[in-house]
């Protein structure tokens, strides 16, 4: 019986993902209402449940793609992949107030540069504190603290060892997951309740997946504003980290 079911899931993976994610959403909203009296938003719980599924997948298979590495659930990989994620993010722009975006223009740009530089600086200090003293390793780990995509791009550009590149990816993944989980809980303390602060948030945090999930769990109306700036962050990081920031690091460390 289980055999037959798993074969059908395998053959129709994409459709299966709608069922599985739909049930996950339903359970999350149920938990939100029954266990937290609505204090914790349903989508915040869904994000955490998603990460738990990803952890189970990772432990079971040793792969990199969470639950999607379990053959039966491979369809989740398509539904949650970059293609549909970016497509749905684009769709959220439908109904956006263009004036709000223009109003946040300057803080948005400032947040992008500040976000990349501050994350890089902190990553560099931590790398140094853990005994990495050569400019190549420090730059790569620091770039990982920008995002888990900028880390390996930079590492490859400056010729870092694979051990350091893996470490930089780890730093980026930690950041992205923290942003997903923590955002809904601290949103009110950092004033994340209007389009301008959402754009600043997107620019400062930068990790597209973190920002996408963090805002979804906080207030879906803010998603397009945060996502808009966040999509520039990785490009800016990939531009600055292996060039200007690497040269500065090299000048300081000698």
């Amino acid at each position: 019986m289980l055999d037959i079911a798993s074969k059908i899931f395998l053959k129709n993976g994409f459709v299966m993902s709608f069922a599985l994610i739909g049930i996950t959403m339903y359970l999350s909203y149920l938990i939100s209402v029954k266990l937290t009296k609505g204090r914790v938003h349903g989508s915040a719980i869904a994000v955490i449940l998603g990460l738990v599924l990803a952890y189970i997948g990772g432990v079971k298979t040793g792969g990199k793609h969470g639950i999607a590495d379990i053959e039966m659930f491979a369809g989740i990989g398509l539904m949650g992949g970059a293609m549909l994620r970016d497509y749905a993010i684009t769709a959220t722009a439908f109904g956006v107030d263009f004036d709000e975006i223009k109003k946040a223009g300057l803080p948005g740009v400032v947040s992008l540069f500040l976000g990349v530089i501050v994350s890089f600086l902190i990553g560099a200090i931590v790398a140094f504190a853990f005994g990495y003293t050569d400019a190549v390793s420090v730059t790569t780990i620091a770039a990982g603290a920008v995002t888990f995509i900028v880390g390996p791009i930079t590492g490859a550009a400056v010729g870092a060892s694979s051990e350091v590149i893996v470490l930089s990816i780890g730093a980026g993944v930690v950041k992205s997951i923290l942003v997903m989980v923590v955002t809904p809980f601290i949103a009110k303390y950092i004033g994340l309740n209007n389009p301008t602060s959402a754009m600043v948030y997107g620019g400062l945090m930068g990790t597209t997946s973190g920002v996408a999930a963090g805002l979804a769990a906080t207030d879906p109306k803010l998603v397009p504003y945060g996502a808009m700036t966040a999509t520039f962050y990785t490009g800016l990081g990939a531009l600055l980290a292996p060039s200007v920031l690497y040269l500065i690091t090299k000048a300081i460390l000698g």
Binding site: S17, Y87, T196
Partner: protein, 133 residues
Amino acid sequence: MLIYGVTLLSVSFFAGLFLGDVIGKVIGINSNVGGVGIAMVILIMGVNYLTKRNKLSSKAQEGIAFWSGMYIPIVVAMTANQNVIAAVKGGPAAIIAGLLATVISFALIPFVSKIGKGKGGNFNKEKGVDNNA
């Protein structure tokens, strides 16, 4: 028709990604720069242009609204695909670097949000609009 909205979304999506790749090439990095953000702007402009001319039927708008509504479930599916093990196994250096970068970036949000607010406030006062409303 529903598909017209979905098509408008797809065309905007590809136009944005294409421009993002071109910008990446021009500044000499092997990465897309703001493709999705540009796609969003193109979609907003496209929707505005067509609605003003009464060319975007409510059915077509539903096509876009559907994908906008699928955003949260798609993001939940995305979280289920994350390499959580890499985060856990990254060791203390990776965890502390990621943690501090996140915490300090969060702490900066209220300060950067204030930039340009004075200017915006005056601008709105002239128009008699309360900025904080």
